[in-house]
């Protein structure tokens, strides 16, 4: 019995697979791959599969993480090759390792965001330098107003000809999450006009002290 952590990309049309559907999709892929997956030993055995950090529907990623267990140790290359042969378009595993960090260590994630527009840089600058960045967050009890200023770290801003390209560092994990769409919605409200989000891609997942989640 051995634990493995698979790192994979979720790109292209696979970004339309929801988190729940991804779970079922991966489960079947592992079953198809012929890898000797480990099953729980309870009354209803099921394949042990864990995703430490969910990804929003519509967001691409180059750093997704999935943990599972095999009944025997296998060379990482073999695991990668068998798994990739069973994965649908857009999902691609690129590394297999032993899990180091634990799910609860996750605290931040970095996103590349592409907004449609040729002259948005100043507007963005004004947006993030407000004393407060107020936004509506949907909760179980209805809409709640909150200030996301302290949660939002903008690492870089580049104005390309047709797009504003942002690198955002946002809280992630059990202790609090901030969805990219909350930020982009707030920016739209601030701008007072629709700004279409061309692409969002998760680039990295971090533990405390900006150590990459491994």
């Amino acid at each position: 019995m051995k634990d493995y952590r698979v790192l994979f990309e979720k790109k292209g049309i696979s970004k339309y697979i929801s988190h729940l559907d991804l779970n079922r999709c991966m489960l079947r892929a592992i079953r198809r791959s012929g890898l000797p997956a480990w099953y729980t030993e309870g009354f209803h055995p099921h394949l042990y599969l864990m995703f430490p950090l969910a990804l929003s529907l519509g967001t691409e990623s180059i750093c997704e993480v999935m943990d599972f267990r095999l009944t025997e140790a296998l060379p990482p290359e073999e695991i990668l090759q068998k798994l990739n042969a069973a994965l649908p378009e857009g999902l691609h595993a690129f590394a297999v390792r032993e899990p180091h960090d634990q799910t609860q260590d996750i605290c931040q994630a970095e996103y590349l965001v592409r907004l449609s527009g040729s002259a948005l840089a100043d507007l963005w600058d004004a947006f993030i330098h407000q004393p407060q960045i107020l936004t509506q967050k949907r909760t179980k009890k209805g809409l709640k107003e909150m200030d996301i200023k302290s949660m939002l770290i903008c690492e870089s801003v580049i104005q390309e000809s047709q797009e504003l390209v942002l690198m955002l560092l946002l809280p992630a994990g059990n202790d609090g999450n901030l969805n990219v769409s909350v930020v982009t919605d707030a920016f739209q409200n601030f701008a007072g006009k629709p700004i279409s989000v061309n692409a969002v891609c998760r680039m990295k997942i971090f533990c405390r002290n900006q150590k990459e989640f491994l």
């Binding site: 929801s18 079953r31 198809r32 394949l47 069973a86």
Partner: protein
């Protein structure tokens, strides 16, 4: 794939992976000579559960030069975007507009999906009426499936219908097309196609009516045959079955591998259209079933396997199949389910085998509350058998039982309705009288549906009960139920009358269907979208009465709108069965005695 234009809207709709394609198991081809758009006239979640589509999709794609792709009806959120942004209906594999395909093929599974067909053709930019499609040979709009047994309400919209099982005839049709496409017009092709057994070209038949609105004559012209016989696969072990299926990202209604274990049914329940349409009874051998099950599980990675048919426990080797399969499924952590078990042969050993895997609710369909009425409908199930089965189920640890009944059956009286309550109460008592009953709360739910008379059944002559009568009977039932353990769900809806009218309708209903769609009807099988007034208006506009089709007794001599379609069930047999029904006489299952329906003529031997 999907059209580029859609990209910016996909995140605005629910479950976007309904519209993207790209699933494991989809078939893409660089080039293909004949392209077939297989359209399921309902949303992805429903269509991707359908076994027939999986079979025919793979079958066509086995041929190198043919390419079959999938098409589903969009949910209204997506439909609005498509209409607003002028995105035409496309096939999921290539993302290309289906109006440029050679064939646009619909499967006709239930009558209330007919308006979806019109809506999909409209979304595809294809003229709805066959006569408006011109002499260009493509696209040919075709349909098959169970409702093709009376396709008259759709006759004006389709180039041709495929009767019976499609495994051979679909390819024969595509072969003919490939041969003729270079030089033939649409009409020329249709005349030639009408010569293939199982192909019905409605435009080659003229329908004459009596003054009272019944059919006077069905007259073929241009060499079309006077009767069109359905196609049947005679050997299920030789019959094509896929080794790979498309595995959806979202969860469809039935999320599992299905292996068809048999076709047809030995039971002869007189209300059940499938029981007659799919005759004769043919089994796959235990070896074939197991081999296909293992192959599909292995290739798909599914952990849910279902042995499907109209009545799986009627397979003569069911225990052998279960014994063989359970070794594999247990080892591979696969749930095995038998969706259509019957009350009377639900043996303890089968039960034990199934429960080794999973315990969930049990569902039975006694269909009628009294023995007399069960004899009328030939549901050969006795009260003792219901009790016996429930006892086995309760002993096996089940505490949830669902019972299905019909209302408005021929000869039904209030006694029969009260019988539903009595029978259910006896099941409740049985549970509480058991000393060693399972822990947990007993939950019995009964659900009633309005009976819809269908073509090619012994009840094709019968009137459907009026809505007011159903409402009155529902009140009788509610009053008769005493126990709080019994949950009743019944709903009345005008859907049943529309279903009945379409099921036994004639060609004049094409105009009604068109107007109902124009009035905004589609997704009618989704109750939240069904609006009866649209349908009644459409009937009125065309000076037709739904009651003429749904609630009228038809004589044994009447020419039915489907009388030229030969499903190998003789009229003489149906009349005889109808007479027996009115005398509450049962007919034995085919395996015991041949009732002489006529279906075995395609086998050239007795069925058993």
């Amino acid at each position: 794939m999907f059209p580029d234009k859609l990209k910016s809207y996909l995140l605005e709709v629910q479950k976007p992976s309904r519209y993207t394609g790209g699933e494991i198991g989809q078939v893409c081809k660089q080039k293909a000579e004949v392209r077939f758009a297989f359209c399921f006239p309902d949303i992805y979640d429903v269509g991707m559960s359908h076994l027939g589509m999986k079979i025919l999709y793979s079958l066509i794609n086995e041929r190198k030069e043919y390419w079959c792709e999938r098409v589903f009806a969009p949910w209204p959120d997506m439909e609005n975007i498509m209409r607003r942004e002028h995105i035409l209906l496309y096939a999921l594999e290539s993302g290309e507009e289906i109006r440029n395909f050679d064939f646009i093929g619909f499967t006709l599974q239930y009558e209330m999906s007919y308006t979806n067909i019109l809506n999909m053709l409209d979304l595809a930019g294809v003229p709805l009426f066959q006569k408006d499609r011109g002499e260009q040979i493509m696209p040919l709009v075709v349909a098959g499936g169970p409702c093709a047994c009376n396709p008259e309400p759709l006759a004006d919209f389709f180039d041709l219908f495929i009767l019976g099982e499609g495994e051979e005839v679909n390819l024969e049709l595509m072969d003919l097309y490939q041969k003729m496409r270079g030089h033939a017009s649409r009409t020329e092709f249709l005349k030639a196609a009408a010569q293939i057994e199982g192909i019905y070209v409605p435009s080659l038949y003229e329908i004459q009516y009596h003054e009272d609105g019944t059919v006077k004559a069905i007259l073929p012209h241009d060499g079309a045959p006077s009767h069109i016989r359905k196609r049947v696969m005679t050997d299920m072990n030789q019959c094509y079955y896929p080794e790979h299926v498309v595995i959806p990202f979202i969860e469809p209604i039935h999320d599992r591998i299905s292996v068809e274990v048999l076709r047809g049914c030995i039971r002869g329940c007189r209300f059940c259209q499938a029981g007659f349409l799919y005759r004769p009874f043919r089994e796959k051998s235990a070896g074939t079933v197991c081999q296909q099950a293992v192959t599909l599980c292995r290739n798909s990675g599914y952990d849910e396997l279902s042995l499907s048919s109209l009545s799986t426990s009627d397979h003569s080797q069911i225990e052998q199949i279960l014994d063989q399969l359970l070794v594999y499924t247990a080892e591979q952590h696969i749930n095995l389910s038998l969706p259509s078990l019957r009350i009377d042969n639900f043996s303890k050993s089968v039960m034990e085998k199934v429960t080794t895997i999973r315990k969930s609710g049990l569902t039975f369909a006694p269909e009628a509350g009294t023995q007399r009425l069960r004899d009328v409908i030939n549901k050969n199930v006795t009260e003792e058998e219901v009790m016996h089965t429930c006892q086995i189920a309760f002993e096996g640890g089940y505490t949830t039982v669902k019972l299905y009944f019909m209302m408005g059956l021929p000869t039904e009286t209030d006694e029969d309705i009260k019988g539903i309550a009595d029978l259910t109460q006896k099941v409740v008592n049985l549970f509480y009288d058991m000393p060693d009953r399972a822990k947990g709360k007993l939950q019995i739910s009964i659900s009633t549906a309005t009976f819809v008379p269908k073509p090619f059944t012994p009840f094709e002559f019968e009137p459907q009960a009026e809505k007011s009568e159903i409402l009155r009977k529902q009140a009788v039932l509610k009053k008769a139920i005493k126990s709080k353990k019994i949950k009743v769900s019944m709903h009345v809806s005008d859907i049943s009358q529309m279903e009945a009218a379409l099921a036994r309708g004639d060609r004049r209903l094409c105009a009604v269907l068109y107007d109902a769609w124009k009035n905004g009807s589609h997704l009618d099988s989704w109750e939240e979208f069904f609006d009866a007034s649209r349908w009644y208006e459409a009937f009125q506009k065309n000076q037709l009465d739904p009651a003429f089709y749904a609630n009228r007794t038809r004589s044994y001599e009447e020419i039915m709108p489907w009388s030229h379609l030969d499903y190998m069930i003789s009229r003489k047999f149906l009349i005889h069965e109808n007479q027996k029904a009115h005398q509450a006489q049962t007919t034995a299952p085919c395996r015991e005695t041949c009732a002489g329906c006529g279906a075995n003529q395609c086998l050239g031997r007795p069925c058993f």
